[in-house]
Structures are given as structure tokens and as C-alpha cells.
Subunit: 205 residues, 4 copies
DNA sequence: AATGAATGAGTGTTCATTCAT
DNA sequence: GATGAATGAACACTCATTCAT
């Protein structure tokens, strides 16, 4: 009577526990003991399901990337026009409404710092950023081409907006009451619209 | 016959050593031994000049804030018009020319991550961010008032640009070849100008 | 309807797996997981068939003793004269021909080290050595008495040859290219003959 | 007022402590805690003076090689003739008199087992064995050439005697009361003499 | 018989901090 | 001021053994 494997479920629990602990205390202080306690598991079990602490972190990065993807798709939902989809994207990434998850944001900021140090983390972090850049570029290009404008600058614009998003996460996690309330989603969208309009004017023959 | 105190010089050496090591390996891996080696000093000496490792880190935050201040003032130099000063600021913060210091940027990103975790670091990090926000707000407000426009939105605009700067630091440190070359300074200035112009139009009676 | 017990077969598989892993990585690094993997079994099963890891080791010692016994008997085969049987013994223990098993030798060396540390292993190891000493003593005594010589020194001679064999195993396992090729079987037999001859002369009245 | 380095002294203490613990419990069970306790030092200090446990072991191998060298030279002392020096060598390696050190022997047996597993240990172990083989070859060759005999077989003879020595160490450490008392030094010398004489007869034209 | 998850004590190693010199 | 040894509490990871299924 063999036992049913439950590794996938356990791995999920462990990854979620890392997210929680890391959001509060950073990666180095997210010890195996602390993660295990958060997950309600014996410490040794973590190394049964993952071969190293870094592997848990890498799993978390991909889990957060998936989460972001789902959140966007859910909010984009019925959006039809390119502009509606762009707005949905900003809401999904920077909005303060339902589903805004400060823990996810803080964990992501910690991951960004680890990506500077650990090559393996950097690799998967970079892939996530690259994917995000593609997605945002495409959304912007759609807005441009809808009005028959040149899409040449879409990538630089996307890069700038992406940087703004990452910076907003960082500042939201590391400061209290310094930044104006709700500036991020609003400003990002404003920048996007101004740039799209300016592009329109510039490229207009 | 007491020796000439050299504490200030020593403290400076130690802080610079922390910056170097931290840029490469992050704060947790910047051990007292590693910092001492980088500085060419005996490990025990670090705790003579600083009471804790965290105190070195706090000193580094203020040192980097001062460095940023000096770099701006130097580049701003003879700039006269508000717009020239704003351009000088962006160059100082995001420019790729002389004095662009990737080590400083990487160290600053690591500090940002520590600010999420350590209250004492967060405190001085927040002050630095707040000062920066004031500076950038003032530069933008000057541009606006030069043309007799309302300065109401200057702070939000400054916040968004600041976020973009921090995000650009993060992405520059944690990715290679993903972001378009030189997008940051260019885009930030473009956003600033578009926003200033738009403000002008909006607030125009 | 009870299943057909396969415990004996399973125990054999497990013991053989320990031999393989131990030859490569030593006893301490021969983990239950590694043995199970080598045997193609689930880790938990090992503790169903054996009550402890040490018990597997003890089984291996007796298995190797049996193996050595069989190998000698097979090679001795049709040998009739005492000298032929002695030669067969040396071939079985030190020969490089068919059936020379480096894995067995390496495992035996590891067992020898464990015998120093673990009383229970030492006990069965000692018994094996004692049996071997008796066997070799008898072979030598037969050679002596065939020529009507005193057999007094047979035991000391056997002890010395046994030591040489064990040392040859050790050096074969722990060195590469240091020892002259094929020195062991040859030298042991030469020593035996010289000693037998010398005994003959000495005891000849 | 800088502190005087005492690393060399401490390293010696630590290596001696490893020897003691290892003789009793083997290498794997010679934990850093156990070694530290034996040496009367704090566990952390061991990694201040050595970068790893393996490095302590490697130091022990060379220390034991030096010890053996000194013991031979001391016993050889005033020995003049080649045969006297050969006898001194056997006494130094296998004798039971003053200075016979069962702890050293047991530690050496444990080292032999580790040499099978750890490449770095094997390297230094092999060098020691090779040096020993050279020494013994030279001693035997001197005996042969003194009587104007061919020295061709000296190396094989040395190898066989070396194997006997290593095997005697193993059996002395892992068995009690099985092996005849004092067989080793006596038999080794006897083998050497018989072989030398036989060589003499064979090569005599 | 068999499975594979679970446990928890133990390992080598790291490291901020202290302190005698 | 300066040195480098010393401390001891972490840490990630390992592993024999147990146990529910």
C-alpha cells in the first residue's frame, strides 16, 4: 500500500512560507527554521522537498511571475481596446485596490536584491523582467498602431515604465509616509498617455 | 604624548571598504573580516571605530547621500536656468558619462533592500529619499513657476521620477542586456518635459 | 493468501548495494538513501529487512567471507598437492586474473576501518580473520608435513602472509601507480616458498 | 601593542587532538566539537586556524610522515652497516619497544581508509607511501650491493614488505588476540633476509 | 511487503563581537 | 590605536530511523 506523493502540495506550502518570511525579514534572515515554522513543518522536511534554500527562492520567483500574470489577465478580463488593456496592466501592477498584496511586493523587492548577488536567481529574475518588458512593449505598441502611429519607441517607453514600477515597489517597501499617496499608478498611466500622444504628434506627417 | 587621532580617516576607509564589498556580495556576505581585508586593516580595529556592523552601514548611507549631493552640485555647476538645473540633476543621477559609478549604484540597491528589514537603516534611508524628493520637487517647481504655471503637481511628478530612478538602479544592477541602452536618463527627462508642458497647458487659463 | 516471502532475496540485493556504494564512498557516506537507490528500492524498505544500517554491514562482512571461501574452493578445484592448493589460495586472494574484484577489495578495506571503530563489526571481522588464519596455517602446515618438516612456525608465517594480503588490498585501493605491478601474489608466494624451504633446512636434523 | 601570532602552536595542538580522537573513533566521528574538546579549545577556533576539517586531516598525514621519519632516524642512529640500518627500520616501523605508539598506528589506519575516499587525502597519502617505498628500496639495495649482488628486485621486495607493514597495522588495530604476538617485525626481517640471500644465490654466477 | 513522507538530532562552517596583548 | 586570537550562537544541510498509508 504505497503512500501517495504530496510533494507538489508541500512545495507550494514551502514556497508560500518563504514569501511570507522574506517579505518581513529578507532572504538571509529567512532561515530554514523560520520558513519551516511559518509552514508548520519540520525543518528537515524542507530539504526533502527542495535540494537547497536557493531552490526554494528560485521557485518563489517563478511563482510570483505566474501570480503577476494571472492578476493581469484577471483584471484585463473583458477589456477590449488596447488602452483599456494598458490601463488594466497598470492597475494590476501598481493599483491599490482589491488584491494589492504588500507581502508580494516586499518579497519581490527582496528577490531583486538577491538577483544582484546570486547568479541563479539573477537568471530567472532576468527572464521575468524580460517577459514583462515584452508584455508592456506589446501593450504600448498596440495603443500606437491602433492610431496608425510608428511603434519604434515602444520598447524604450516600456523600459522606463517598468523601471518606475520596480522603483515604486522598492520605495513602497522601504519608506513610510514619504511618497505621496497613490502617485504610482496614476503617474505611470499619465506618462504613458503623454508619451503615446507625443509620439502621435511627432510621427504625424 | 598622545598620537594624532586618525579616527575620521579610518572611519572613511572602513565605510568605503563596506561599499566595495557590499556592491559585490550584498550586506550579509559583507563580513567584518571581508571589509577589514578590503580596507587593509585588522578585523578587530573595525569594532574600535564602529560599535557595530550596522553602524558602518548607516555611515555608508549618509556618505552616499553626500556623494550624490556633491555630484549634482558639481554637474549643475554654472547652470543658470531651472531647466538646465533639472537636466543636470538627471545627468547626475542617471547619466552614463564621467563619474557614473556602478559600484555606488549596486551598493545603493543593497542598501535599499536592507532598509526594508532594518529599522535603523530604514530611518536614514527614508531621510535621504525625503531630501531627494524635496530637491527634485523644487527643481520641477522652479521650472513651472518660471513660466508662471501652477506648481501643485510638482511633488507627484517628482515622486514618479524618483521611483523611476530607483527602479533603473535596481534593473541596472540585476540584469544584463535586458533593458534598452541608455533609456533611463533620456526617458526621465522626456517624461519631465512632457509633464511640465502638459501642466502648462492644463493650468493655462 | 500470503505472498511468497522474498526477504532473503531482498536482503541479498541490499547487501550487494551496500558493497557497491561503500567501495566508492565509504561507510559513513553510504547512506540509506544511497543504498536504496543503488538497489532500486524505496528507502523505507531497508529498515523492514534490516533493523539498522550496522546490521547490513555485518551481513556484508559475512557475505564477503563466504565469497572469498567460494572463490578459493573454485580455484583450488582439482588441485591435489598441498603446494598446488597454497598456490591456488594466493591466486584467489591476490591474483589479477578472472574474478579479481576491485569493488570487493575496496569494500573490504572500508570494512577493516569500520572494524577498528565498531565493536559489533570488529567481532565478525575478527572471526573472518581468524578463520582465514586457520585456513592459511593449515595450507602451510600441509606443505611442511608433506616433506616431514616441523609445522611449528606455520602460524607465524600465515600471520605474516595474511598481513601482507591485507596491506596489499589497502595499498591497491588507496594508491595509483605507486606500487609495482603484480608484486603481491608473486612476492607472497615467493616468501612462502623461501620460508618453507628455510624451515625445512632449519628443522632438518 | 599587537598580539603575537600563535597559529603554528595552535595548529599543532589541533592536529594532535585529531590524531587522538581519530584513533579512537575514526574520521567521520572525529567531529569538530570532539576535536575541540580534546584540544581544550572552542569549536569556532578550529576554523580560524584551519579552513576545513579536511585540511586538519591533511596536516595530520604530513605530521605522521614526519614522525615516522624522525623515529627511524633516531633508532637508526649509530647504525653503520646496511643490514643494521634495515633492522633499525623494521624496529622503527613494526617494533613493540619504546615509542611504539598504538594511537599513531590506529590513526594511520583510519587515514588509509580516508585516502580511498578523499582525493586530497589520497594525494598526500600516496606521496608518503611513495617516499616510504623509496626509502625501503634504498635500504634493501644497499644490503644487496654491499655483497655485490644485483639490486633489480629491490623495489618489488620493498613493496611486499611495505604491504606487510600496512597490513600489520590494520590487523593490530582491528583485532585482539587473533594474530600471534610479535610476529610482524620478526617475520618482515626474516622475509627480507631470506629474499636477500636468495637473490644472492640466484644472481651469483 | 512496500512506499515515500516525516522527524529531529547532529554536522561542518560562518561570523559579529570581545578581549588580552 | 592596533592586532589577531578567541568565543559561541547561529546557519544550511545530512541522515538513520520511524510511520501512516
Amino acid at each position: 500500500m504505497p503512500r501517495k506523493p504530496n510533494t507538489e502540495a508541500r512545495r507550494g506550502e514551502i514556497v508560500r512560507a518563504l514569501q511570507s518570511v522574506m517579505a518581513k525579514h529578507g532572504y538571509e534572515k529567512a532561515t530554514i527554521q523560520a520558513i519551516a515554522k511559518e509552514a508548520g513543518l519540520a525543518p528537515g522536511l524542507l530539504h526533502y522537498h527542495f535540494s537547497s534554500k536557493q531552490e526554494i527562492l528560485v521557485s518563489l520567483v517563478t511563482a510570483l511571475a505566474d501570480y503577476g500574470q494571472r492578476r493581469f489577465e484577471q483584471i484585463a478580463g473583458t477589456a477590449q481596446s488596447p488602452m483599456e488593456r494598458l490601463t488594466a496592466y497598470m492597475e494590476a501592477r501598481l493599483g491599490l485596490g482589491d488584491g494589492a498584496a504588500p507581502e508580494v511586493v516586499a518579497a519581490w523587492v527582496m528577490i531583486g536584491a538577491e538577483a544582484v548577488r546570486q547568479a541563479e536567481v539573477r537568471e530567472v529574475y532576468q527572464r521575468t523582467i524580460a517577459t514583462e518588458l515584452e508584455l508592456l512593449s506589446a501593450l504600448l505598441a498596440n495603443c500606437l498602431s491602433e492610431h496608425k502611429r510608428a511603434t519604434t519607441g515602444a520598447r524604450e517607453l516600456a523600459a522606463a515604465l517598468l523601471a518606475m514600477m520596480e522603483g515604486a515597489y522598492q520605495l513602497a517597501s522601504a519608506t513610510n509616509g514619504v511618497m505621496p499617496a497613490g502617485y504610482a499608478a496614476q503617474s505611470a498611466l499619465r506618462f504613458a498617455k503623454l508619451s503615446l500622444d507625443a509620439t502621435a504628434l511627432e510621427s504625424g506627417a
